[in-house]
Symmetry: C2
Subunit: 237 residues, 2 copies
Amino acid sequence: MTAPAYRRLSVEERRGQLIDTALALFAHRPPEEVSLDEVAAAAGVSRPLVYRYFPGGKPQLYEEALGSAADELRECFAEPQSGPLTHRLSRALDRYLAFVDGHDAGFAALLRGGSAAETARTDAIVDGVRRAAAEQILLHMRVPEPGPRLRMMVRTWLAGVEAASLIWLDEGKQPPLDELRDWLVDHFVALLAATAAHDPQTAGITRAALAAERSDGAVGRLARRVVPVVEDSLHLL
Amino acid sequence: MTAPAYRRLSVEERRGQLIDTALALFAHRPPEEVSLDEVAAAAGVSRPLVYRYFPGGKPQLYEEALGSAADELRECFAEPQSGPLTHRLSRALDRYLAFVDGHDAGFAALLRGGSAAETARTDAIVDGVRRAAAEQILLHMRVPEPGPRLRMMVRTWLAGVEAASLIWLDEGKQPPLDELRDWLVDHFVALLAATAAHDPQTAGITRAALAAERSDGAVGRLARRVVPVVEDSLHLL
């Protein structure tokens, strides 16, 4: 049972092991339900040893586990700058949604708020991830100086992705992840087009992004599906 | 100074006056910064009198002020079931955004979370408003049994409206409210179309909604602005 306690780990290895263990526990249950004793037991070490590494106890351990999860989340949006924009977005969303799937209860507890473990510092970590994701997406649009409309569009879409992820968890992880991903990509395309109607900078980016799309890609698929829905409404043009 | 204290108010009137006074103070500053003494002074009554009405002190007063604001917000989405859907949505958003404008700091503090005044009960109040808004919108779509995709679409859009409202407050209330409102209506139309591409129920509702639109309305305006942006991309169809 306690064998792992006797493995010789360096200070950094032990710290990392405790954070990983805590994250695995915090991922599937609200922070209130995870005790420090449980983290110690799962890591095969004593409670005093956990305190030696994390003198702040559970709040500190939670915050560090969250910081480690935030690093992982930030990585989701790192993507090579090549290929159609919707392909890149689709791959980023695949990673993001896999993260949501793998940290379901912890993700929901954190974003729903109202948790006793929530502090100004944990809020700042979450906001940091949001900002990093928005920056990544704007980078992919190759805009050196994104205007307020474009920034609002990206952040609004990201808020929608978060909301949809929480609803998806509530609904017993339905629809299947790849359908949710495709819908969120389509949401992005639709919101980009709607914003292009209001903002010349976004219009320019949308034209450039569309020129790089392929007819068997996300935009082509979306367009072919939307046309039959709107084709009786040409009187509006 | 203290003249209002001597007005004879009934118990219900006094309660209402204290809640209105508290709400006016909580509207423009985070709850931490508003003291019970300040509420008493602004209402022209003594501190003990506030406690007589709200034995739970500031937390109770905050919660009741929030409940009163929630009632007001819920009213924003009540709208007669006639005319094009985008007109109704536009009027509801006018009221909602006027509320955000009039309760700026309190609205931001509440939705940003991390506030000491936030509890499971205040969270439940906020969630109640979200649910009521979603129900209202679904009612206007005349769907007796909305499927999961349509519900997810409406709730995702509402999350985007909240996020855009917070960004709007951060950006010094730019762009002007009517531009923000039009953009949010266009966001709704775009998201509805994107969802129609994935879901037959949403496709049916979208067709019916489009048939009721007028060419000088929101959808006509959006379509005429989007066409020039996408017209070079017919290769995708």
